[in-house]
């Protein structure tokens, strides 16, 4: 039974809608204005398309976009229809006025129209710090966009996904309204829609929903209930369910709700950024709620046509210099706050500098002078204040009609300037949105708090890799080099010269490190060691272990013909440590002098000698491991990034960045 009623209701709604369409078409026809009708038809088609898309699409993002288009189409249709009604009313009023006898000359001057542009919309959010810094739990995300309406034009911004990692909602679009009057009202509305898991709102019957909500848990259930209830938290949802004139077909899918709105007008126009207050509708209980700070920051600029277009142009004669009879013929162009006088019309088109520029602004006074006995028409005197003094220019037109037209143009200019007020002080720049629309969707806007991310090449793993490679190098050099002088302490019998050559067989103890990068580029650099490359690389495959390594070394050592190794009376441990020391310690004597980067006397020597050559231990060696300014040959990219990291982390530096 209830299903029948539902279908019945839908049927009724459809009939109403058709009737509305007929009504609209009739009005449009009677006004003989096919322009608006075409627009309405277009929007209705778009709306149908959006509904179909919404019903058909499965992806959440698509559904959100389609819902946004639906809302925009509805808003536009409403706007056009109200426009139609206004025009109809005006027509009726005119007819009435014409019939009545006292239709005096309507001398209202109407101000010129202008372009109004709003850009760089930014709405700060105010998350509770507890909510912000906790990272567990699912992210409460909302899809938001702005709807901007001025006169009959409605535009929407792109959709932005907002969650608690964002500190502001930023809309990058620049929206330009072309025909705005100075008394314009720009309505900015922020719509948001909760973007949690797919609830397929509308399909789950109420009873089931309440059952589910009790079993899902309070917050999840609350969200679900809110999603099922269209417009639970605001009177207008889906763009205009307020009037019966346009019943909205209920479509499944995500629904946007009005979260905040504000109205801007001429007094808010400024060439720079300003913050305006937002009126917030909805409360914390709603699913689409976002903690707004309460303001919106944007740049609202206006270019009245009197500033950008030529309002009047024609031939004039101007008195230049001191001669009483010195009339010069010029071509005058009234544009913006100036009257430009060119030698001839072609000069203006060729962008040649004008001969004379007379300022026409709020301070200017223009009057028609007494009739010049020599000419037929009146002179026009323009007086300006330059600095402390008054300067008057006298102009004359060719005929009385021309004079009248010029005066009229000046009066209109003054009127426009009084209406557009601060927009006429200086021309505000409006950047038109570039025609190429970048198809790249910017990934989640990084939060300001998370922006100090260390470059991936700077992470600890790479640092230890570099250290490992360095150790390799040292070890290679150690094969060529000789033990440090302190090694002689172990040899009680005879002091050795530090530069005795040490022959080590190819299978020398190699500190096998867990290295991720291939070692061959490293090895090739040191000449004369190509024979040991093979040994190194083969060693790299085997797992790290200390004792077999040295056990291996132990035996060739004893068989080495070197006369240095006299039988020792030291214990095995001491012997092992000497061998280790020999393997690692050689670098100190034979390596290239460090570059400017490396600074301190390296305790790495001692550190390395005892290392069990795993990456974790090498990273734990003192404070130097992080910023390893081992300035030897290694890839310069790594060096630079490490240098940057070091510079960033070193509080003594005063960073400078080039932009």
């Amino acid at each position: 039974m209830p299903i029948d009623r539902l279908a019945d209701m839908e049927e009724k709604l459809r009939i109403l809608e058709d009737l509305n369409m007929i009504y609209i078409r009739q009005i449009a026809l009677s006004l003989k204005d096919s322009d608006i009708q075409k627009k309405i038809d277009y929007e209705i088609r778009m709306r149908e398309g959006a509904c179909k898309l919404l019903a058909a699409c499965s992806q959440r993002d698509q559904a959100l976009e389609a819902s946004k288009s639906l809302l925009t189409c509805n808003a536009r249709i409403m706007a056009y229809m109200s426009e139609l009604q206004r025009m109809k009313e005006a027509q009726v009023m005119q007819r009435v006025a014409r019939r009545s006898s006292d239709a005096g000359p309507m001398d209202d001057r109407s101000p010129c129209k202008g372009k109004v542009a709003i850009s760089d919309l930014r709405i700060p959010l105010m998350w509770k710090d507890t909510e912000y810094f906790k990272n567990k739990g699912e992210l409460h995300r909302c899809a938001v966009f702005c709807l901007l309406q001025l006169g009959g034009e409605i535009f929407d911004t792109d959709m932005v996904m907002v969650d608690r990692t964002l500190t502001d909602i930023c809309f990058d679009n620049t929206i330009v309204f072309n025909e705005a009057s100075p008394g314009f009202e720009l309505r900015v509305e922020l719509y948001s829609c909760c973007s949690e898991e797919d609830y397929s709102a509308g399909s789950t019957p109420r009873k089931l929903a309440s059952k589910l909500s009790s079993s899902l848990g309070r917050s999840a259930g609350k969200k679900m209930r809110a999603a099922l209830e269209p417009g639970a938290c605001s009177p207008t949802s889906n763009g205009g369910g307020a009037t019966i004139l346009l019943p909205v077909p209920s479509v499944p899918g995500p629904k946007y709700h009005l979260l905040a709105h504000t109205t801007l007008n001429l007094s808010h126009v400024q060439d720079s950024f300003r913050t305006h207050d937002l009126t917030i509708t909805g409360n914390e209980e709603c699913s689409y709620w976002l903690p707004l700070y309460g303001g919106v920051c944007c740049r609202l600029a206006a270019q009245p046509h009197c500033m950008t277009q030529q309002m009047m142009s024609g031939c004039l004669r101007v008195k230049l210099g001191g001669e009483p009879q010195g009339w010069t013929n010029v071509y005058g162009v009234l544009k913006g706050t100036n009257l430009f006088c060119y030698h001839q019309k072609e000069d203006m088109e060729a962008n040649v500098e004008p001969v004379l520029t007379i300022g026409i602004n709020k301070e200017t006074r223009i009057r028609a002078a007494e009739k010049d006995p020599h000419s037929k028409a009146q002179n026009i005197c323009i007086t300006n204040q330059y600095g402390g003094e008054e300067v008057t220019h006298t102009l004359a037109a060719d005929s009385r009609e021309d004079t009248q037209r010029w005066m009229e143009a000046f009066w209109q200019q003054f009127y426009d300037m009084s209406q557009w007020r601060q927009c006429c002080d200086d021309l505000m720049k409006i950047e038109l949105p570039s025609p190429r629309k970048p198809a790249i969707v910017t990934p989640k806007q990084g939060s300001l708090y998370h922006e100090m991310v260390i470059d991936t090449s700077d992470d600890i793993g790479t640092v230890t890799d570099i250290l490992a490679r360095r150790i390799e190098e040292f070890e290679l050099r150690a094969q060529l080099g000789s033990p440090p002088h302190w090694m002689s302490l172990f040899d009680e019998d005879s002091p050795r010269s530090p530069h005795k050559h040490q022959h080590l067989p190819p299978h020398s103890p190699s500190p096998r490190l867990h290295s991720r990068q291939p070692r061959s580029p490293r090895c090739h650099r040191t000449p004369g060691l190509l024979s040991s490359n093979a040994s190194l690389t083969s060693d790299s495959d085997s797992p790290t272990s200390v004792s077999p390594c040295f056990r291996q070394a132990w035996s060739p050592d004893t068989s080495s013909p070197s006369s240095r190794f006299r039988p020792r009376t030291l214990s095995l441990d001491a012997k092992l440590s000497t061998l280790r020391g020999r393997g690692y310690g050689g670098f100190r004597c034979n390596c290239q002098p460090p570059t400017a980067n490396s600074v301190s006397p390296r305790p790495t020597q001692t550190a390395l000698s005892c290392s069990s050559s795993t990456s974790s231990s090498s990273s734990s060696e003192g404070s130097n491991s992080q910023e390893s300014d081992l300035g030897f040959s290694r890839p310069s990219g790594a060096r630079r990034s490490l240098r940057n990291l070091r510079a960033k982390l070193d509080p003594r530096n005063w960073l400078q960045s080039q932009v």
Binding site: C297, K429, E451, V659
Partner: protein, 124 residues
């Protein structure tokens, strides 16, 4: 610029609009910045108050977009496209200036000479 701790900063500012220059894939402005709340303010050669952690212009490339727009070395940047620069880290400031997709940046800068000029003109 008067800096009284705890009070809002007041300054005589100038608006500068810089049109970025496209160099292949990069958009360059032609100046360098220094400073930031994570930097050591005593090393700033341009600031009057050595505890000022604001963002200063340390170098302006000759003929670059910044110089053409009127930016001078030693200027303190207060705002970039509406974003505040008086209480940001160095990296945040750099990021706000080098946003891809923005061809124009509108800065609000202050410099000592502006204040002097205003003071002098008020004395007449």
């Amino acid at each position: 610029m008067s800096f009284i701790p705890g009070q809002p900063v007041t300054a005589v500012v100038q608006r500068i609009e810089i049109h970025k220059l496209r160099d292949g894939d990069n958009l360059i402005l032609g100046f360098s910045i220094g400073g930031g709340i994570d930097q050591d303010p005593s090393q700033n050669p341009f600031s009057e108050d050595k505890t000022d952690k604001g963002i200063y212009v340390t170098r302006v490339s000759k003929g670059g977009p910044a110089e053409v727009a009127g930016l001078r070395m030693g200027d303190k940047i207060m705002q970039v496209n509406g974003w505040d620069m008086t209480m940001v880290t160095h990296d945040q400031a750099r990021k706000k200036l080098t946003k891809k997709g923005e061809d124009v940046v509108r800065l609000l800068v202050t410099r000592k000479s502006l204040e002097n000029a205003v003071r002098q003109s008020m004395m007449h």
